[in-house]
């Protein structure tokens, strides 16, 4: 949050749809917006994350609802990574109960979360392509993303909101037919992901716009507590699936993807490689699914939870997501704390903008993978001329706006 008195003649304020249990802001709002970038002409001289925005009050809401309702409320903190939220919440509750899900359920949970990581990574790469001006590439990626959305619909019953996790297991099982269909969809998806990776690596414009843009020193990255692909792109092999080994991640082979350069290109490539690793993991889960019961009977689950506290972490597509639950015994939690990765990445990550030009700021912002849909508009305030105008972020990134 480097801010304070800076000599700037222009302020650009970016709206942020931050999937923190808070609530987004929209460019039409004139209140302090999420990220203010102070510019001297073209170069960024200062940036501050200004979070004076509204709040859905999810943590207070969770204290007023029963544990089982909280699973569904927590699943809706972020629309794109909801299976991970529900999973982390359910594992914290299972730790309170001391209940262990059956092995088949652990494998199915890994499958649901990895499918979600694939579609979240493809989405943010598509938004990055769109912000760089590649409309067609964006449309291709969104079309290929439909394959993994269909796979998720086959597995969990809904394209986006999985509602798949339940204390003691998962809520639906899959049979042979569904397994083969998901396998075929993944086989169709893999060459497409490899193709997009090649496009990102070889295309001259993408390379010029991404390489050495938003470069962060590794000690700054871990010093500011940035997480997930941003941390791994700086060379730190920190991945919650690796150190916590929850569900079936000890048995399903996977490697922690890291890169050294810690710039926007490294972050996007970490996400592409993680997509490929996720596809491999999904195939492994589909081939080695243990037999047995996976769906608990929701009518016989205990309603009252014992006293105690639990802290669960999960590797969300955007980074390490943590849930802390304190229960004083009873039907409702006493305190439920959700800390999403974007809280650290976006609020603490603004120092990465300093020194880059205005057109690079949206690129760096999207490389942090905020939950931003590219239809958002930014507010450009010119202090000298005293004008304010709304500009789609795409135009900012393409230098249309000076």
């Amino acid at each position: 949050m480097a801010s304070g008195e800076v000599k700037a003649d222009k302020v650009v304020a970016f709206p942020m749809v931050l999937e923190v249990p808070i609530g987004p802001q929209h460019p039409a709002l004139h209140e302090p917006l999420m990220i203010k970038v102070y510019l001297d002409g073209e170069d960024v001289v200062g940036a501050e994350a200004n979070t004076g925005y509204n709040h859905r009050g999810i943590e207070k809401l969770c204290e007023k609802n029963t544990f089982y309702k909280d699973i569904f409320i927590c699943g809706r903190v972020c629309g794109i990574c909801n299976a991970v939220h529900a999973n982390c919440c359910v594992r914290a509750f299972e730790a309170l109960l001391g209940k262990e899900p059956p092995p088949r359920a652990k494998y199915l949970r890994v499958l649901a979360m990895e499918l979600e990581r694939i579609h979240s990574h493809i989405l943010i790469n598509a938004v990055m392509a769109e912000i760089l001006g590649y409309e067609t590439l964006f449309m291709y990626m969104m079309r290929d993303r439909e394959l993994v959305m269909k796979a998720k619909e086959i597995l969990t019953g809904c394209r986006v909101l999985a509602d798949y996790m339940m204390v003691g297991g998962v809520r639906r099982d899959i049979d042979e037919v569904k397994r083969d269909r998901i396998r075929k969809l993944l086989d169709k998806l893999e060459p497409r992901v490899k193709y997009y990776m090649k496009v990102f690596e070889e295309d001259t414009t993408i390379r010029k716009r991404l390489i050495d843009v938003g470069k962060l020193k590794p000690s700054d990255v871990i010093g500011h507590g940035l997480l997930g692909p941003v941390l791994r792109a700086a060379g730190f092999p920190i991945d919650s699936r690796d150190y916590d080994g929850y569900d079936a991640y000890r048995e399903v082979p996977f490697r922690v993807v890291t890169r050294k350069e810690s710039d926007s290109m490294a972050r996007m490539m970490v996400r592409w490689e993680e997509t490929l690793v996720s596809i491999e993991m999904c195939r492994y889960v589909l081939d080695h699914l243990p037999q047995g019961e996976a769906v608990p009977d929701e009518r016989r689950l205990p309603r009252r939870f014992p006293e105690g506290e639990a802290f669960a972490t999960v590797e969300a597509p955007r980074g390490e997501l943590t849930y802390y639950v304190l229960s004083k015994g009873g039907v409702m939690p006493y305190r439920l704390k959700i800390r999403t990765p974007s809280l650290n990445n976006i609020i603490n990550g603004v120092f990465g903008f300093i020194g880059y030009s205005l057109a690079d700021v949206p690129v760096i912002l999207v490389s942090y993978d905020p939950c931003i849909s590219c239809m958002e508009r930014a507010l450009v305030i010119d202090l000298k001329r005293g004008t304010r105008k709304y500009v789609p972020i795409k135009y900012l990134a393409q230098g249309v706006v000076k």
Binding site: K60, A92, F311, R335, N348
Partner: protein, 159 residues
Amino acid sequence: MGASEGGELLDKVGLGMLKGLVTKAYLMKANDRVVVEVPNENLGKVIEELRRSFGKDGFYVSTVVGTDLIDQKLMRVDYFIYIAKLKRFLVLRLFTDRENPKVTSLYSLGLESAIPGECEAHDLLGIKFEGNPFLKRPFFAPEEFVKQGIYPLRKDVKV
């Protein structure tokens, strides 16, 4: 270091150097998180010890949880610190009284990764973190709560 079994636990997990500074050490559920209760004045020394043994880039503050223990008239702050070398979480637990909750901010001890968590705890629970210049209201809470001086996550607030 009061209870001895806390000492063995710290040695077992490789955090023996903290033994002299903490009052209690026990485990928390879900993958045995090590919880150490630290008096406010020892916080600086604990961070110094961590930095000495794991290096400046060896750990970061993952989560800051503020909890309003209304029946014991206490406000509790938990710092969840992830230590890369041990692949494990260390939880620094601090207690302060509920009426005027004050805690030394980890930002003032050089850990920028604590900023968002502390700002949120300040805004929603009213805990003052001394040495953190970024505390302000509203950080997340709506405008009306700031005007009325309500901290939404406190237990006595019916919202």
